[in-house]
């Protein structure tokens, strides 16, 4: 199962095995990683699953599109590698992915 690394804003690091096909947001919720909320359950409505994809991984993950992109422009503290983690589906290729979490989701 792919291993995803979550790094909270306070530096705390977590590793979680996340099944292929599940989202990076769901992986955090399943593992009680609190820096991601995912209030809308993954339908791209709330922007409370904002993460910064590690630069070395951004090409593999890819850029946001559509409404995700529009919402990301307006999240607190956006960065060039910002994504909404509910829109990142875990694949075998993303084994080892590192995402950093913002100070606050709202």
């Amino acid at each position: 199962m792919p291993l995803i690394h979550y790094v909270e804003a306070n530096g705390a690091e977590y590793e979680a095995e996340v099944p292929v096909g599940e989202s990076v947001m769901q992986g955090a919720v399943d593992n009680m990683i609190d820096g991601i909320l995912g209030e809308c359950g993954g339908v791209c409505s709330c922007a409370t699953c904002h993460c910064y994809v590690d630069e070395d991984w951004f090409d593999k993950v890819g850029p946001p599109e559509g409404s995700e992109q529009l919402m990301l422009e307006m999240v607190p503290d956006p960065e060039p590698t910002s994504r909404l983690s509910c829109q990142i589906k875990v694949t075998a290729e993303l084994d080892g992915l590192i995402v950093r979490l913002p100070v606050s989701q709202y």
Binding site: Q26, D30, M32, E39, E73
Partner: protein
């Protein structure tokens, strides 16, 4: 941060509280106890893609049941808490068990508001609040059959959209003169009525339902004006009421919800409460509110967990909500109650997306954003930062809303 925390309820607030307690350093036992038979699940899909049959019960779980155990959280489902003894810090369950607590968290949520309609208990008549309700509804869905939905709020409209998608004939009956009358401006109500009618829903407003007659399978909804509607399936969505009885019975302050402060503390220092069941102060709004939403449940639960872990962070967030119907994503920032002006951005009559800004005395209160995610995000920041934008500017589509924040 030792000892046992008992969380009463298994909804969104309860699931978040358990997780946040662990993350914020509670080392003792955490027990979730709730009446529903399954692990905490997401409620919003019940009236949307779960009703439409696009998701299974397993994939609306907030997290897999096993995830609780692996984080040392005990889950006791199918068990009702009968009473709380605050003097001895014990709770009594319906199976006779007595459990002690160090700290108690009430996440008792809300239940469907009962409709005063004769015949509500008939087979084929459902409220829409729990997984069990929707499983009952799903068993009665068939493309060649007809449904009557009583109530034109978000639940009723979302259900109408899901049932139309499954090919059912749908009639929606609303007591007021327009749908969404409690929460939206007439412009937004008109928009949703038009879209639902275009999608084939027969919307009737100003209709009071008196009786549901049941004649072996086919039911008839009888209204006060004499109109009658036949239906195989009837769904009632006329609001929810907070579950405050446990709190009331043990002497906690209750006033349209369990009264808590900005740290989610009840009138008992060992008891916090979060979610739909609470009535809490909101300094941004300048008043107390009871909210019915997942974001409120989750964010207040985080605060409640922080309070129990001696990491107090006041809960002060502008409310927000969402509703998905057909291809329409409605995102609402703020509370529109008390508005004296509505400004539209984009045309409500032709397109499938626009914004209704709600103002009072020129100050922004809320925004209904339909297929306008960027404006929604901007609206949240305008509210949080108390920034003023002239009504003419809010309406001007040539201006990028991003500019209002700089």
């Amino acid at each position: 941060m030792q000892g046992r925390v008992v969380i009463v309820g298994t909804g969104h607030a309860a699931a978040q509280l358990a997780s946040s307690l662990r993350q914020q350093g509670w080392q003792g036992e955490i027990l979730l106890v709730g009446e529903e038979p399954c692990a905490p699940y997401q409620r919003p899909p019940l009236s949307k893609d779960y009703l439409a049959g696009e998701r299974t019960a397993d994939n609306i779980l907030i997290r897999p049941a096993a995830a609780y155990a692996s984080h040392g959280v005990d889950l006791l489902t199918g068990r009702r808490v009968l009473s709380i003894d605050r003097a001895t810090k014990m709770i009594a369950l319906d199976d006779g068990q007595q459990l002690s607590y160090q700290k108690l968290a009430l996440c008792t949520g809300a239940r469907a508001r009962p409709a005063s309609i004769r015949g509500v208990g008939s087979p084929g008549v459902f409220y829409l609040r729990t997984l069990a309700d929707v499983d009952g509804i799903r068993a009665n869905i068939s493309p060649d059959k007809s449904a009557v939905i009583i109530g034109g709020g978000y639940i009723g409209l979302e259900a109408a959209a899901a049932l139309r998608g499954l090919g059912m004939a749908v009639t929606l009956l609303e007591l007021q003169e327009r749908v969404l009358s409690r929460v939206c401006a007439p412009e937004v109500s008109d928009f949703y009525s038009r879209v639902h009618r275009e999608e084939g829903v027969d919307i009737r407003v100003g209709v009071e339902v008196l009786t549901i007659e049941n004649d072996g399978g086919v039911k008839t909804v009888v209204c006060s004006d004499g109109s009658r509607f036949h239906a195989d399936l009837i769904i009632i969505g006329v609001g929810i009421i907070p579950n405050v009885e446990l709190a009331e019975a043990c002497g906690l302050a209750v006033d349209d919800g369990i009264v808590v402060d900005e740290l989610a503390r009840t009138s008992d220092p060992d008891i916090v409460a979060a979610g739909d069941c609470t009535n809490h102060p909101n300094d941004l709004l300048g008043r107390r509110v009871r909210q019915e939403s997942v974001p409120n449940a989750m964010e207040q639960a985080k605060t409640a967990a922080g309070t129990l872990c001696d990491r107090p962070v006041p809960y002060q967030v502008y409310p927000w909500f969402w509703s998905d119907q057909y291809d329409l994503k409605l995102q609402i920032a703020g509370l529109s109650e008390g508005y004296d002006q509505v400004v539209l951005r984009g045309g409500k009559d032709r397109q499938r997306g626009f914004v209704a800004w709600y103002l009072r005395g020129g100050r922004l209160l809320a925004a209904d954003c339909i297929n306008r995610p960027k404006e929604f995000m901007v609206a949240r920041q305008l509210l949080a930062r108390k920034l003023a934008v002239a009504p003419a500017t809010l309406a001007d589509e040539t201006i990028d809303p991003k500019n209002w924040l700089s």
